[in-house]
């Protein structure tokens, strides 16, 4: 789900070859699960078909694809909307949130603001679950608790990440 958007984000930095995109994706987001070359080129193909990237002419050299891809205005708009909007608060968001924060820092976007917006969305969902607990029965409370504890874990991650943004920015921009 986030692979196309992550590739768009990497292209927002600078036009790149598929190989470079795969290398950067694996370095920052792969974490033991590298992106297969086939998926990189298939995704880039779909993005090009939908007008979100342009492929350019093939350059001479070895390998299956020597095109240099660049993000289009449509692609940049879609990426920006994804980066700016908070994610629907639900458990196990860390991977998506992590990708958003790293890309925002790479692109010198206001990562702290994104985290603030996400924190607000989380607290709003926690508020709804708290109300369900306060007005419902024990079963409702138990179900709401399950959601609350997971959202609380996300919230702690948001807070800790927020406190570490400067160090993280230094790391991702040093490359």
């Amino acid at each position: 789900m986030t692979v196309p958007l992550t590739l768009l984000g990497l292209l927002e930095r600078q036009p790149s070859h598929g190989y470079d995109l795969k290398r950067d994706y694996d370095t920052y987001f792969g974490r033991g699960k590298p992106l297969p070359f086939g998926q990189v080129y298939a995704t880039l193909g779909r993005l090009a078909r939908d007008g979100k990237v342009t492929g350019g002419d093939a350059e001479p050299g070895a390998g299956p694809d020597r095109k240099r891809y660049a993000i289009t205005e449509l692609g940049a708009t879609e990426f920006d909307a994804w980066l700016t909007e908070p994610i629907e608060p639900e458990p196990h968001l860390q991977t998506v949130l992590f990708s958003k924060v790293v890309l925002a820092l790479m692109l010198e976007r206001p990562a702290e603001t994104y985290l603030d917006t996400q924190r607000a969305a989380h607290v709003q969902r926690m508020r709804e679950l708290t109300e369900i607990k306060r007005s419902g029965g024990l079963m409702d409370a138990l179900l709401a608790d399950h959601g609350l504890f997971h959202l609380e874990a996300d919230l702690r991650w948001i807070d800790v990440t927020s406190a570490r943004l400067s160090a993280l920015a230094e790391m991702v921009r040093a490359k």
Partner: protein, 242 residues
Amino acid sequence: MTSQNASPAQQTRRWLIEARDVYRSFGQTPALAGASLSVGNGEIVAVMGPSGSGKSTLLHCLAGIFTPDRGEIWFDGQRLDTLSDTKRTELRRTAFGFVFQFGQLVPELTVADNIALPLLLNRVHRKVAYAKAAAWLPRLGLDDLGTRRTGELSGGQAQRVALARAMVAHPKVLLADEPTGSLDTLTGEMVMDLLVGLAREEGTTVVLVTHDGRVAAYADREVMVRDGKVINRAGIEVEVGR
């Protein structure tokens, strides 16, 4: 900077309690650096933020315990920070209730003594004060504990007594600083259920400092304090009147 074209007094009437562009330092260390927060009548607002962000200092400024180096504190249409110490203390006794992380009860006194204390300090007749204190015991599930010394209570019981003591004089504002910080999850939830339930019943405005998202979720809205400034939900610095 103000956000409307009304006079400061008119603007303040829209809000029960306000910090306007408040600065406060401790020695060379700035704790607040232009913090603004406006809380409406009957509203419950959570003030979140990491340790050292200035959230407790903001609460103490709103309470009139700390005087800002710069900026203004308004309460119910009057400027709080320029009042004399005597008038500010009087206002704190009559219009404000406080709950802190550790109940700050007098351990040698009984539960009833502790709850009646604010009324006795306000020169309410002893018999009336104790009758009012006794009326709060069942509301907080403390029915059989009136004669118990507070030093013998569990953390949850002590916080419920602290809540009764804060509410007994029917304050307009309840200021709570990490009220569940020393409690386990279930006990903390019970205290927050009571705090919010009582505030709604009594129409009390609540400013609640917490770093805990589960506690903040009890509030009508939350703000963040970061680097001595108040930030709203969208990560934007809060201006006066917002």
